[in-house]
Symmetry: C2
């Protein structure tokens, strides 16, 4: 099932619209609302900004005008059922905590699902001018007019760079123990990063990403990106992960299998 | 003791030289050596790359040619005693782990000390084109021809964004407990970042930074930057921190005092 050039161009226009809505808000004094989530039974600050809401509204307006039969699932503005068999899955600012901290490791996530499977994914970082795209079995970085074909790195566990945004907050005790087993086997472990970790994996510089408590909009766009670059991405037991929850991404099939074995304990 | 324009221009040239040496290596396949450190009694991967070594060599060559009486202390190439009363303190790539992961949160740190006190500090991120400078009681960001005056944010503890690169690796058990007391009081805690956290503080988006196990070259350049932006930076008990070890930086004096009280327990 290949995605046609017109659809790819439309997805790029959605990313352009999101970037235009977000860029003016970066490093400005923002009103930050708290969505008052709980996580692992504790109250958990869940920030959302005007940048998130404006960007999602901009994307949705374009879809509703040009492809009104498509479904939409967005982090901030919920679900709109469609009738075309296609659904757009959106997280306009993934990494809001980095965004409100004036840091760069955030991005706009735009996925297209057909028959329940993500077939196109964009991670756009409009301040860095980096757009990562996975579609039709390939992944590339578009930056300053250049298009760079992306490949993950193939390396053994003892040379692997492992990343996770924040196991101390997002993982329960059992998940933390499982993560620690992989961390002890890998060469280096590093925190922070959100969606940007998957860009670094597609670039070939991060080898393993382990996350949990993901929502569909946190991951859908990143699946075609990682797979298109030659990586393997699933939940912790090897099943599909586009519904979120536990995520395991690796630069190669062998590393993925080894990490899954260690997670199992 | 004010730093003259000629010295500031020379420090900028050092940062230019470091950037020119580093930029070609970012996101290239690098030979990564391990300095085989131990930390908290465990073996600890301590990467160093050609980018680190080349950049420090480039800076040192300029200092030795134009200011041969100045002392130099660099992370990679050690100490050279001087006779001028001035010493340059250098970490050409602070955040090597982020650098080798293809991420952006690293920078070149260049400090000038006079009479044992840092009087000028540069944090240069040559890929982002951001240069943060603290000198003569002010801090600014130079980017794409613009010069932006920097101010930290003044906020109460319950609204504070707290950052630390990796307490799970760098802090001992007692330090982790102290950190957790501040983390519980702050609004949000975020990991990763290295020197870039101090840039985010000077920009007014990160309010508290708590670190330990720092070396002089990890912190000297960041002291004039934080202080010039209106923040307060010291060790955990309020003393000078330019020798490294435990670091506490805050956007305001009140927040610094409150964090110090919580660290004490």
């Amino acid at each position: 099932m290949s995605v046609d050039a017109e659809t790819i161009a439309f997805a790029n226009r959605l990313a352009d619209a999101a970037g235009a809505a977000i860029r003016p808000h970066f490093r400005q004094r923002l009103a930050v609302a708290d969505k008052h989530q709980t996580l692992q039974g504790r109250a958990f600050f869940d920030p959302v900004t005007e940048a998130d809401r404006n960007a999602e509204a901009a994307i949705r307006a374009l879809i509703e005008r040009e492809h009104p039969a498509d479904g939409i699932l967005g982090e901030e503005l919920g679900e709109k059922k469609g009738s075309s068999g296609r659904r757009w899955v959106l997280d306009p600012v993934d990494g809001t905590r980095a965004f409100i901290s004036g840091r760069h490791e955030w991005g706009s996530l735009i996925a297209l699902e057909e028959a329940g499977r993500p077939v196109l994914g964009i991670l756009d970082q409009p301040v860095l001018g980096e757009r990562f795209i996975g579609v039709n079995g390939a992944a590339r970085l578009q930056q300053a007019g250049d298009v760079i074909r992306l490949r993950t790195r193939d390396c053994p566990m003892e040379e692997a760079i492992l990343c996770s945004t924040d196991p101390s907050a997002y993982f329960n005790a059992e998940e933390q123990a499982a993560f620690a087993r992989v961390s002890r086997a890998a060469r280096m472990t590093r925190y922070g990063g959100d969606c940007y970790l998957f860009a670094a994996m597609a670039l070939g510089f991060v080898d393993l990403i382990i996350e949990t408590n993901f929502h569909p909009w946190d991951i859908a766009a990143l699946i075609p990106l990682v797979e298109g670059a030659g990586g393997v991405i699933s939940n912790w037991t090897g099943g599909p992960c586009n519904d979120g929850k536990q995520i395991l991404a690796a630069g190669s099939a062998a590393l993925h299998a080894e990490a899954m074995r260690l997670l199992k304990g």
